[in-house]
């Protein structure tokens, strides 16, 4: 059963009326109406639970339990922003009602999964899997399986799927780690999806992102210096290499955690992307995709995230530098602040318009709410080994 506790000012009233209400209205919702636009989900990776949080008042509202192995879990939202779909590492998809703070449905769909996306019409959930590799499509309402796309279908062994992102027209783009491909999946008929393959896009794509206008899909490459760019407006032109040779023959430094890519790394005219094996953030012009600068940072970047307004870019790091966060000023492309907010900072999430950023500190069991204007901590909240933080404002953004 999904446990939940709303800690609100309704307690006094509830205490007075509880005996009566229990008898008369058992099971009936007495919660006042509210919206979901400022709600979010925090993954508590080790305990298989999520917290439902309110980012207007920087408070936790409830905990929902029973979601399984949530290491490396990620979340997408229904387009009414009421439901969160949580993709667990154990291959389960859990649909959580943010308002009722309740686990609505949980399906186990693979043995090893890494994330998912929601279609542009909001009707289809796509899950990307490592084992068995492939993509499965589900009905967003009831999580019924609609179809499976095997990445082994074309021979050469099944490939792990990385970087799954939604694209306009009920399409999804993703990369194949083992076979070095990008696939474009047209799910406009979700029971019979169509695949367009792009081969030889580069060695070991480890993650991908769709630009926030849904035009571009970019896969980061582990196996070579550079990224692979797919322009969906010119699909016939195929996939081309960008930022090639950014390491320029320098010795690659060890990578103790793979970076993560998502559409947030594009700020104004530039894309800010993590280098692999170099302690740098790469800056590319987001029309020509030519490299315009590198920003030296203190470690291997993991998340490189632009504030919603695009003025600053926040970076966290792989082990052993995962207790630090750096803030890059976009116009000058300089690090302007190094924060040391807690041990194992795994994730960062901006409030919808960027007045604050929430950080998760796994090893200090806390969340930090940082004021982006003053770069000071507004509040800390307890959490059980928190990892990902996902705000419902993602519901209306492509590539999220």
């Amino acid at each position: 059963m999904a446990g939940s506790t709303f800690a609100t000012g309704r307690r006094t009233l509830a205490r007075l009326l509880a005996p009566l209400l229990c008898l008369a209205l058992a099971g009936c919702a007495s919660t006042p109406l509210r919206g979901t636009g400022d709600l979010g989900v925090v993954i508590e990776r080790a305990s298989g639970s999520v917290q439902i949080v309110d980012n207007s008042h920087a408070q936790s509202l409830a905990r929902v339990q029973g979601l399984g192995d949530l290491s490396h879990a990620s979340v997408v939202f229904s387009r009414d922003a009421r439901y969160a779909y949580v993709f667990g590492r154990d291959g389960a998809i859990s649909k959580v009602d943010l308002l009722a703070a309740r686990l609505v449905k949980r399906v186990e769909q693979a043995s090893n999964s890494i994330g998912g996306a929601i279609s542009s019409d909001g009707r289809v959930i796509a899950a990307q899997n490592y084992s068995p590799g492939g993509v499965k499509l589900f009905d967003a309402d009831n999580l019924q399986l609609l179809s499976s796309v095997s990445t082994a279908a074309f021979g050469g062994g099944e490939s792990k799927v990385v970087g799954l992102a939604d694209m306009p027209g009920n399409r999804f783009a993703f990369a194949l780690y083992d076979s070095g491909e990008i696939w474009l999946l047209d799910a406009s008929t979700p029971s019979a999806p169509k695949v367009q393959r792009f081969e030889h896009i580069g060695k070991q794509p480890y993650d991908g992102l769709a630009s926030s206008d849904g035009r571009y899909f970019i896969a980061g490459l582990y196996g070579e210096d550079g990224l692979a760019l797919f322009d969906s407006w010119h699909a016939d032109a195929g996939v081309r290499r960008i930022l090639a040779g950014y390491g320029r023959g320098r010795q690659a430094l060890p990578v103790y955690k793979m970076p993560h890519l998502r559409g947030w790394s594009i700020a104004g005219d530039y894309a800010f992307l993590p280098a692999i094996g170099q302690h740098e953030v790469l800056v590319a012009d987001n029309r020509s995709w030519a490299q315009v600068a590198t920003v030296p940072v203190l470690g291997q970047p993991v998340f490189v995230m632009a504030e919603p307004g695009g003025r600053r870019v926040w970076v966290n790091f792989a082990f052993p530098d995962n207790d630090k966060v750096q803030v890059i000023d976009v116009p000058t492309r300089q690090v302007i602040k190094t924060l040391q907010p807690g041990r194992a900072i795994l994730h960062m999430e901006f409030t919808p318009r960027g007045d604050a950023v929430w950080l998760s500190s796994r090893d200090d069991n806390k969340l930090l709410v940082i004021d982006t204007a003053t770069l000071t901590v507004r509040r800390t909240l307890p959490a059980l080994e928190p990892s990902g933080i996902f705000f419902s404002s993602r519901a209306s953004r492509m590539g999220m």
């Binding site: 080790a46 290491s71 490396h72 060890p254 990578v255 793979m258 090893d363």
Partner: protein, 112 residues
């Protein structure tokens, strides 16, 4: 000429001796280091191999997945990494004895 039984007997001896030596070499580190290493294993190795070590972008590290793999080569992989793959060298953070202990735990299924 069939020297099979003799050979098998010798092998058994060698294996026994080897496993004995290995166990002796891989004594658990003193606390709090042992706890730190287990945290490292699940949280940092787990970043690629999965929190429950059932695999991710990295291969699974379950006893079944590691069965039959020589402990020495697993220890070398941990310490030196595997060129051409994302597996990095962990030597800056682990001694050889500590890597041996972790391999033993992983192969025996005692890493949880």
């Amino acid at each position: 000429m069939d020297s099979g039984p003799v050979r098998r007997g010798l092998w058994l001896l060698v294996l026994l001796a080897a496993s004995f030596c290995q166990q002796a070499a891989a004594a658990p580190p003193a606390e709090p280091r042992a706890g730190e290493l287990l945290q490292l294993l699940h949280k940092d190795c787990g970043a690629c191999h999965g929190l429950s070590l059932k695999g991710g972008l990295g291969s699974p590290l379950t006893p079944q997945a590691l069965a039959g793999k020589p402990a020495d080569s697993l220890v070398a992989t941990i310490l030196n990494g595997r060129p051409g793959t994302p597996m990095p060298p962990w030597r800056p953070f682990l001694s050889e004895e500590e890597a041996q202990w972790l391999v033993q735990l992983l192969q025996q299924g005692g890493a949880r």
